[in-house]
């Protein structure tokens, strides 16, 4: 009996749910006005955000858009965010300047200058690109969106679509625009911008110091300008011309030290943030886990610029952490791309990956496997070495004799070198042998001579002999200390972090919104900085270096790396 009642109850519930769904998505009924009025403020903002970012009406239908006046296009392909960006503060692409669309600026009249920054060249030059107009009202803004006519009666249809948005939906969109980039992000006051860096306890102190030194130098240099500007009018004028009000602001860098197991980090991060909110995290370092910090940044909408980590979190949609690259995995991907170009020559012989079971080994092998599969090539054979299991010459010879591979990839540390050396000149040796140059560490530079001509290496950085020209710029930050006392790679990575932050803050026109920090980075072209052959930024791109060289070590006592491939990128 009770089972029957339950059954009827479930049926009634399902019918009710169906009716509610039909009411919401019924034909011709976009979204009942009464229902919208009852929405919570958060839900209203969410729906407005969806219109702005995804081009979807509250009903879930795509916004109808028209370009050139009457050519219909899908509103989800011509979203507001694609030009006005996540922060709504507009974009600059070459000569095309898209004005801000956040309520705070829309509902102010626009002059040919920005009040308060009339004499700051980089800000006033920006203002000159944009047409003068009176302040928008709700009605004139709705007219702009629906008809493409601005308050000066000028048509904008040559650069912007017009959208079919009903009055009820328009109210939601305007509410969202009014909330967009309305108040400066936490961690910013008129006098100061607060930053923090996350350090995982137990990280090698030399590495930590190498990460901190450039950041602290940069912060100190900025603060001395602020101090000097307060004491000396000439310095103040010079600083103001360069940076506007940013010249008088000081920066601070807190150290957020994470202790104990990663499961406890979230609570520690919350406590640090509660105690002192910051505008962004700079750098940061961990030799192992980083995901809890990544997740914290996503949830708090807190930017983290260039943490020094081996295993970044890989995501196509996450927004708030900017990594240098996809980590060591990128080397595995590069090997797959390099070998796929010559795979036709393998005559049906296999590719074999010998993988040390470890986080590094797994990442390298997985990068190779995935890219090899994308290329449509038959899966490579894999031999896994357990932690602590030695790769002896006999073991490697057995693997080669059994599999007869055309290409042998060994993902292991320098302990594998004797086995690789023993393969040289042996009958039936693979045509090509590749390993990770970075995993070999310093042993890379002392490879036995006979091995050098036979071993190919991945190298995800610019060749050291070509990167020396950046030594002066990096060395300047050490204020008399020796370059040799630091980790060369991390020092350069941290140099990049502070350079990019400096460039981005200058380009932000004193609009200190976290999303605008990333919007600004996304507008930067390819950068030529130390360490990486090229760093690319673009809207939503979160892995700046996309390439890797395949190299060989030259003969002699002072060998160099020689490129065997171009910058193999994804």
């Amino acid at each position: 009996m009770s089972r029957k009642v339950n059954h009827i109850g479930q049926l009634v519930l399902r019918l009710g749910a169906l009716c509610a769904l039909l009411l919401l998505v019924g034909p011709g009924n976009t979204f009942a006005a009464e229902a919208k009025a009852q929405l919570s403020p958060q839900e209203r903002l969410r729906l407005g955000e969806r219109m702005y970012r995804e081009g979807l009406l509250p009903s879930g239908e795509p916004m109808e858009a028209f370009v050139s006046g009457d050519v219909p296009v899908d509103g989800t392909a011509f979203t507001c965010v694609s030009c006005h960006l996540i922060s709504g503060l507009g974009s600059i692409e070459g000569e095309v300047v898209t004005p801000p669309t956040n309520g705070r600026l829309l509902y102010q009249a626009r002059d040919s200058y920005i009040k308060g920054s009339e004499f700051v060249p980089y800000i006033s030059n920006y203002a000159k690109y944009l047409p003068v107009r009176p302040a928008y009202t709700d009605a004139s803004l709705a007219r702009l969106i629906q008809a493409g006519v601005d308050p000066t009666e000028r048509s904008v249809l040559h650069v912007m679509p017009r959208y079919e948005v009903g009055d009820e939906d328009m109210v939601l969109l305007l509410e969202y625009l009014k909330a967009l980039s309305a108040e400066h992000s936490p961690g910013v006051t008129p006098e100061e911008i607060k930053f923090a860096t996350v350090i995982v306890e137990g990280t090698d102190p030399v590495k930590v110091e190498s990460m901190l030194a450039p950041l602290q130098f940069s912060i100190d240099r900025k603060n001395s300008l602020a101090q000097a500007s307060k004491r000396n009018d000439r310095v103040a004028r010079m600083g103001y011309n360069m940076l506007g009000d940013l010249s008088m602001m000081s920066f601070s860098l807190q150290h957020w030290i994470l202790k104990g197991p990663p499961e406890t980090w979230r609570a520690q991060l919350d406590a640090y943030y509660r105690k002192q909110p910051v505008f962004a995290l700079l750098g940061g370092i961990s030799e192992g886990e980083w995901e809890p910090v990544h997740r914290f940044c996503e949830e708090m909408k807190l930017p983290n610029l260039f943490p020094v980590v081996d295993h970044p979190v890989l995501s196509d949609t996450d927004w708030y952490t900017q990594y240098f690259s996809r980590g060591i995995r990128q080397e595995g991907e590069a090997v797959a791309r390099y070998l796929q170009g010559m795979s036709e020559l393998f005559n049906g012989r296999d590719v074999v990956q010998v993988v040390r079971q470890s986080r590094k080994g797994d990442a390298l092998a997985s990068g190779f496997r995935q890219q090899w599969q994308v290329a449509g090539l038959p899966a490579a054979k894999e031999v896994v070495l357990a932690p602590g299991e030695a790769l002896t010459p006999q073991r490697l010879e057995e693997i080669v004799a059994r599999e007869k591979p055309a290409a042998l990839i060994v993902w292991d540390d320098a302990g594998s070198l004797p086995a690789l050396s023993a393969l040289v000149g042996k009958d039936g040796a693979p045509g090509i042998v590749i390993t990770s140059g970075t995993w070999l560490g310093e042993a890379l530079w002392t490879l036995p001579e006979p091995l050098r001509a036979n071993l190919y290496l991945t190298w995800p950085y610019r060749l050291p002999q070509e990167d020396r020209r950046y030594d002066f710029a990096v060395n300047r930050m050490l204020i008399g200390k020796k370059l040799a006392d630091y980790d060369r790679v991390i020092l350069r990575q941290s140099f990049i972090a502070q350079e990019m932050l400096g460039k981005a803050l200058m380009d932000m026109r004193l609009e200190f919104y976290r999303d605008f920090l990333y919007d600004t980075l996304g507008m930067m072209g390819d950068m030529y900085l130390p360490l990486y052959e090229r760093l690319s930024f673009g809207p939503g791109q979160r892995y700046a270096s996309k390439g890797c060289f395949i190299v060989q070590l030259t003969k002699g006592e002072n060998p160099t790396l020689e490129r065997r491939s171009e910058w193999v990128g994804h």
């Binding site: 170009g341 020209r469 002066f472």
Partner: protein
């Protein structure tokens, strides 16, 4: 007398470019513009060879935008359309790559170079 003096000046002027060339000791870089595969005796697929030569020749090319020096630098073109011949360097296929490249010398500007980095 005057004509002898003129001859002397002329001879001096003619030797100037040689002297200047001898001083051109900057780093040599290549900007590769084209490449082709020369199979020689190899019987491999020439198209694969051509593709592999792309990788080989492009690896020779230097990205001049990487040059950053305190004090500045300039690139002096010393040869156009040089044919740089490289072994294909592939264990599965023989042949050579002919890389068509412009050769440049990177000359550092010493006048503005900060004292601490002057050799």
């Amino acid at each position: 007398m005057t004509s002898k003096l003129l001859l002397l000046v002329l001879a001096g002027l003619l030797t100037l470019p040689l002297a200047a060339a001898a001083e051109e000791t900057g780093q040599k870089v290549y900007l590769v513009k084209d490449y082709r595969y020369e199979p020689g005796g190899s019987t491999g697929d020439p198209e694969v060879g051509q593709s592999l030569c792309g990788t080989r020749c492009n690896a020779l090319s230097s990205d001049y935008l990487n040059f950053i020096e305190p004090g500045g630098w300039r690139m002096v073109k010393v040869a156009s359309d040089s044919e740089v011949v490289l072994d294909l360097g592939n264990p599965f296929m023989q042949g050579e790559c002919v890389c068509l490249a412009d050769e440049y010398l990177v000359k550092l500007v010493e006048y503005n170079r900060p004292k601490e980095v002057k050799p």
